[in-house]
């Protein structure tokens, strides 16, 4: 598995802090599922994260044709989405 990038660690920390998760952000694997059987997040968490992301990175998440599942599928997918949206 590929190494975690510094930006991925930053977003992992944001996830853990925002959702008060009982895990060490360093233990979140970039390709592991965030929802369902992975970290076990649900849609309420997605909304909380959207607020935190908007506050920290200054853009608002949108799910054109409901691809939430894709955006939040893993730490890597979410981080990539944040990077793209920030530079857009």
């Amino acid at each position: 598995m590929s190494e975690i990038t510094p930006f991925e660690s930053e977003v992992a920390k944001l996830i853990v802090d925002t959702l008060n998760l009982d895990v060490d952000s360093a233990d979140i694997k970039p390709t592991e599922a965030l929802f369902g059987s992975g970290l076990g997040l649900d849609s309420i968490d997605a909304l909380e994260l959207a607020m935190a992301i908007s506050k920290k990175y200054g853009f608002q998440l949108r799910s054109d044709d409901s691809n939430n599942a894709q955006i939040f599928s893993s730490l890597r997918a979410l981080t990539t989405h944040i990077q793209h949206s920030r530079s857009a």
Binding site: L19, N20, L21, D22, G36, S37, G40, L41, D42, S43, I44, A46, L47, E48, A50, M51, S54, K55, Q60, L61, R62, S63, S66, N68
Partner: protein, 440 residues
């Protein structure tokens, strides 16, 4: 199902579905549905859901509304209602239950229009399940009369009788009572158009509202209102916002009213009776029941009476009765957990925890509500040799994700008193010792 002559049934970002098209598609679907008695309509697209609902009514199939999609719950329902199919518009597998894809059925169905749809008031439209204190799914049958009466009363209360039809956008799914009543039955009964999608993020909500004509109604929850306010998003003019599933604070309601230049109403209800009362949150603590519902003070507690329910229904929330049409809500029953609108009995959650292999003792802790931020449950558990991950894995198979504990705290023993009970203050001390400020 339409009560008025309004020509649009549903809106997509790029098109509107006319009443004619709707009738043709219902007919197409009716011609392709199997001869079963029950259907679980899992369509995510609200217009697809409506098509499935209307076609099922035509075929006299009863819709089963499930509070969760946890496989174990579906298995329990299936064992009681074996003559069952699932109607869906996306991927998903459910052990042993046939899944029909609505798009495929529509593509191959006959397309002549049905005659005007008419239903017997007593026809069962849906069975809404609650999980009950024992975990066994408890069925609540909803007749056509019951659902259409509630939609009529809701519309009259909110002034839809003196207003041209517009569009309704909802962030809640149509498969739960609140969503079914306010985002499917309400528009159908009053000739409004529904937005077919289910917007999620604040930006999505703004886009969805822009895709429907004024007057616009937003059907949502305190969690979403908080997100909309936090992002300070700009929304198209709103006729009003409806909120339910959890208490909304007057402060947040006032912020939303100011920011979106609208009014915010809350709906009070529970699965057994459906929507029953409203209040404008900034105006009053007092809930006003719908015009055909009365609150009795019978032996054994408060009960709601309505002509479309068989017998008076007990109110499980702690309320103060003002008169037969008004009350104040003081709190939830101590056994009832409400996480982001999903309800469960603490007794049942504890029983499920104790059923896990290796668990000797354990209890769910339900933090007090402080604001609209959703608080999660915590678990204190005695399970020598087991890890928190193992407890989580066991619970995940049994519980809706909303009730998954954060965190699981492993202890050597629980501070039970001499009678073997765990008083609330003992739990609060545990919480103070083991949980962070945000977790309690």
């Amino acid at each position: 199902m339409l009560a008025s002559d309004s020509s649009v049934v549903a809106y997509y970002p790029d098109r509107a579905v006319s009443r004619d098209e709707f009738s043709r598609q219902v007919a197409a679907l009716v011609s392709r549905l199997p001869d079963s008695r029950y259907v679980i309509n899992l369509c995510d697209d609200r217009y697809h859901f409506l098509l499935g609902l209307a076609a099922a009514m035509e075929k006299m199939h009863v819709n089963l509304l499930l509070p969760t999609r946890v496989p174990e719950f579906i298995r329990q329902v299936q064992s009681s209602y074996p003559d069952l199919y699932i109607l869906a518009d996306g991927p998903g597998e459910f052990a042993g239950v046939p899944v029909l894809q609505i798009q495929q059925l529509l593509a191959g169905g006959r397309t002549t229009a049905l005659p005007a749809l008419a239903y017997a008031p007593s026809q069962s439209l849906a069975i809404a399940f609650t999980s009950g204190s024992t975990g066994v799914p408890k069925p609540n049958t909803k007749s056509w009369e019951c659902l259409s009466e509630v939609a009529q009363m809701t519309g009259r209360r909110l002034g839809l009788d003196s207003c041209a039809p517009g569009g309704i956008v909802a962030t809640v799914p149509p498969q739960h009572m609140y969503g079914l009543e306010t985002s499917v039955m309400l528009p159908m009964q009053w000739g409004w158009g529904m937005y077919a999608g289910r917007p999620f993020f604040p930006q999505d909500v703004a886009q969805a509202l822009a895709a429907v004509p004024a007057p616009r109604i937003l059907v949502t929850t305190p969690v979403h209102i908080r997100a909309l306010v936090a992002e300070g998003i700009k929304l198209p003019p709103l006729h009003f916002i409806l909120s339910a599933t959890a208490p909304l604070s007057a402060a947040l309601a006032a912020e939303a009213e100011a920011l979106f230049a609208t009014r915010v109403f809350e709906i009070f209800g529970f699965t057994e009776i459906g929507s029953a009362a409203t209040r404008r949150t900034v105006d009053s603590q007092i809930w006003q029941l719908f015009d055909k519902i009365t609150l009795g003070n019978d032996a054994g507690g408060y009960r709601l009476h309505a002509p479309y329910i068989g017998q008076p229904l007990p109110v499980s929330d702690v309320i103060e009765r003002i008169d037969d049409s008004r009350f104040c809500l003081l709190g939830r029953s101590t056994d009832m957990v409400n996480i982001a609108g999903k309800r469960a009995s603490l007794g049942d959650l504890n029983a499920k925890l104790l059923s896990l292999p290796g668990v000797l003792d354990g209890v769910f802790f339900n933090p007090d509500d402080k604001d609209e931020k959703v608080r999660r449950l915590a678990v204190f558990v005695v399970a020598p040799g087991r890890s928190a991950e193992e407890i989580n894995a066991g619970l995940r198979a049994l519980l809706d994700p909303a009730f998954m504990p954060r965190p699981v705290v492993l202890l050597e023993r629980l501070p039970r008193n001499a009678a073997g009970k765990l008083p609330r203050d003992a739990l609060l001390r545990l919480a103070a010792d083991y949980l962070s400020e945000e977790q309690r």
